[in-house]
């Protein structure tokens, strides 16, 4: 077998069924070997970044390893944003890239870049395979590293001569020998016991849970613990859906755009039990004033996360599922205490608010609420990055794990549509909705053609406010309303000192998303009022193929609640509707 055939065999041995890729000079051997391939569904994206995001969406929606295949040079550099996105959110993907042949490496050969150098800091691990003899074990190790421990992206760079070299007596290895890689799955029993005792003594305990719950599949174990002890919990953006949005002990998402009750509970608690989270600055706000009254317990499979951002009194290194299971065995049941009643009352007394009257311009919050209702809270929601992402996090009633997919850590615009493709291919029986802003949607809009040609039934909901809304919101609130280069309608004829929508604004918005959809062979729909929205959502969600549903929403709607950057998270702006009330 030659190197290319070994790569394909390894993918099958690892259970891969879909491959996202784009050909190019040095990977022709692999694509040649794929020519008559029947077991692997090879999706030809229109850009390598989209291939990696699609593999990422596949992985996030299933927990399986997603795979992308790209060529050397520009193919590899285009893949970089996708790899970094997966790294920041701990998503298991394997990215295979071609490389110039061994003798050419380091000579600035045609389409040569140092892929292993570039991916070193943005991957969990990476390989440059110089020798065909190393290829089988490299493939085996790559999948093992991607999916075990704290998951993450692994890059495999393979020179074209290795893809063509023949290996006699090829056999896919069964064992892995990695003396430097042994993730700790089981938590230390003494630490778990200490944690249980501390929980039992705490007066104001709070669970702070995140993506680690989803990655380890610990949703049931978490609920068992919180329901037994009646301890309220918050869930970060990456963990949304790990419990039902209306669970009685759930206080919502904390952080910069977190719920009032979630943020205040974090600041007031006397014991914070962090599980599968990383005390990200978008959650903690000003770290020096964060949860100052709390003893911090931290359960994480990655020992380097513990103590990274905050001093931790009770560290437990281990897999969330295992640790929570063991914890549950020794915890004694206790009824809801005064603290629990107080914080859940905070939640009930501070619902999210916005205004929407019949016939008037659409509120983006209303769009998401209607989507939630009409998709029976049961779609896989994939978002892009920006205001719509936060509205989707706050207003969709997430139910079930792996149903809210979003670029949280890196905040990659252009993620939504291709990641939704990956999720849709992996979940053919589920409704998959890509919620995008009009800015980010244009960053991988070429994938509409991929959706149309392969009949991938992604429903793209484009929340069009004609602005790069999140940056505009910051400019409005903190930069004296100087809307510098955030208006997507701005022409050279506009006054340079423009401070927002006015009667002189250009009428035309480019592109016309409905026409773009139609030009790509995708159904295009548009709504501007609440009445049109409901009709559009009904039609679009019922349509069997891919659809673009454009919502023309209010131009200057802001995301609230909001904590200004660098402030403690209880200094929270609740927005004009709250202030009126």
């Amino acid at each position: 077998m030659n190197g290319s055939q070994i790569v394909i065999d390894a993918l099958k041995q690892e259970g891969v069924d879909i491959l996202f890729g784009y050909p190019g000079g040095v990977v022709i051997p692999i694509f040649d070997a794929l020519f008559k391939e029947k077991e692997l569904n090879v999706i030809l994206n229109r850009h390598e970044q989209a291939s990696v995001h699609a593999a990422d969406g596949y992985a996030r929606s299933t927990g399986k390893v997603g795979v992308a295949l790209v060529t050397s040079g520009p193919g590899s550099t285009n893949a970089i944003t996708g790899i970094a996105t997966a790294k920041l959110d701990s998503v298991p993907i394997v990215v295979i890239s071609g490389q110039v042949k061994n003798g050419f490496i380091g000579t600035d050969g045609f389409q040569e870049v140092d892929m292993s150098g570039m991916t070193r800091t943005i991957s969990k691990h990476n390989y440059l395979v110089n020798d065909i003899n190393d290829l089988p074990k490299t493939m085996k190790e790559a999948f093992h590293i991607a999916r075990t421990g704290r998951p993450g992206p692994v890059s495999i760079d393979i020179p074209v001569d290795v893809l063509l070299a023949v290996l006699k007596n090829y056999k896919y290895p069964e064992e892995i020998k990695l003396p430097g890689y042994k993730p700790t799955v089981e938590g230390n029993p003494k630490q778990i016991k200490k944690l249980a005792e501390t929980i039992q003594k705490a007066e104001k305990p709070l669970f702070y849970t995140g993506g680690g719950i989803v990655a380890s599949g610990a949703e049931k174990e978490l609920l068992a613990v919180v329901e037994k002890t009646n301890i309220p919990f918050v869930t970060t953006l990456m963990g949304l859906g790990s419990s039902d949005a209306d669970h009685p002990l759930f206080l919502g998402m904390p952080g910069m755009h977190g719920r009032y009750a979630a943020n205040h509970a974090m600041m007031q608690c006397d014991l914070m039990i962090a599980v599968g989270v990383r005390f990200d600055d978008r959650v903690t706000g000003d770290l020096s004033r964060f949860a100052t009254k709390a003893t911090i317990a931290h359960i994480d499979i990655d020992p380097a996360e513990i103590g990274k951002n905050i001093q931790t009194e009770i560290p437990v290194v281990g897999d969330a599922k295992h640790v929570l299971k063991e914890l549950n065995k020794i915890l004694k049941a206790c009824p809801a205490n005064g603290w629990c009643k107080t914080v859940t009352a905070w939640r009930d007394e501070s619902p999210l608010t916005y205004s929407q009257k019949p016939g008037e311009a659409l509120a983006p919050q209303y769009v998401i609420e209607k989507l939630s209702e009409l998709s029976k809270d049961n779609a896989i929601i994939v978002t892009d990055v920006g205001q719509h992402q936060m509205f989707s996090a706050l207003y969709y009633k997430h139910k079930g794990p792996r149903c809210f997919i979003s670029s949280g850590g890196l905040g990659t615009m252009g993620f939504g549509l291709p990641a939704a493709m990956g999720a849709a291919l992996a979940n053919p029986k589920r409704q998959v909705v890509a919620i995008c802003g009009d800015g980010g949607f244009q960053m991988n809009i070429q994938e509409l053609a991929t959706c149309a040609i392969n009949n991938i039934p992604v429903k793209a909901l484009v929340i069009n406010n004609q602005y790069l809304g999140m940056v505009r919101q910051w400019q409005e609130l903190f930069w004296n309303k100087q809307y510098s280069k955030v208006c997507l309608k701005q022409t050279p004829n506009c006054p340079p000192e423009c401070k927002g929508p006015n009667p002189q604004c250009p009428e035309v918005y480019r592109p016309d998303f409905v026409k773009v959809a139609e030009a790509n062979g995708v159904k295009g729909l548009r709504a501007s009022t609440p009445e049109e929205l409901v009709a559009m959502l009904k039609e679009g969600l019922a349509y069997p193929g891919p659809v673009v549903m454009e919502c023309i929403v209010r131009k200057e709607e802001n995301v609230y609640p909001m904590v200004p950057g660098g402030k403690p998270i209880d200094e929270i702006l609740l927005g004009p509707e709250k202030e009126k009330a």
């Binding site: 292993s116 800091t121 440059l128 590293i145 003396p179 430097g180 990655d302 380097a304 103590g307 990274k308």
Partner: protein, 159 residues
């Protein structure tokens, strides 16, 4: 408070392992005082000695991150142990134009080794702990150091 730490790593002898280690540290804006990579008694395992001056918290974070590298088998912060032996090897070229007899006496007293002697300079090697090396360099400084090369510190646990 920043203090000096000697971290010893056992690593797999793979292409790029040093780049991973140094990249991980420079990525966080820390500076490496010295680094040395040498073979061990096991052919596929190399020993890396890394000297850093940082706070305890930063050293702990760096050690944890180093431990996460797949090619790194073991990380030991040797300076956290009471009993360890540190040595460094230096080679230094010193001018003999000022006072050769005095210089040669100093070299002898420090039990440094003369590797070469010419009309203008002497080349000396010496092995010693940090204090001895520091003292020696202080004493020969006035004679005129023309070139100095140091191996960087390496250490073994003495328990």
């Amino acid at each position: 408070m920043k203090t000096k730490h000697t971290i010893r790593l056992k690593v797999l002898n793979t292409v790029g392992v040093m780049a991973r280690i140094t990249g991980l540290i420079s990525q966080r804006g820390y500076n490496i005082d010295s680094i040395m990579s040498t073979p061990t008694e096991i052919p596929e395992i190399y020993s890396v000695h890394l000297v850093l001056t940082e706070t305890e918290d930063q050293i702990e974070q760096i050690s944890k991150q180093l431990n996460k590298l797949v090619d790194v088998v073991k990380v030991t912060d040797i300076s956290h142990n009471k009993n360890y032996i540190v040595r460094e090897f230096i080679m230094v070229k010193i001018s003999t134009s000022k006072n050769r007899p005095d210089l040669l006496q100093v070299i002898d007293l420090f039990r440094a080794k003369v590797l070469d002697l010419s009309t203008n300079y002497v080349v000396v090697s010496m092995t010693g702990g940090p204090r001895k090396i520091k003292r020696f360099l202080e004493v020969v400084q006035p004679f005129g150091i023309q070139e100095l090369d140091r191996s960087g510190e390496f250490a073994v646990l003495d328990v």
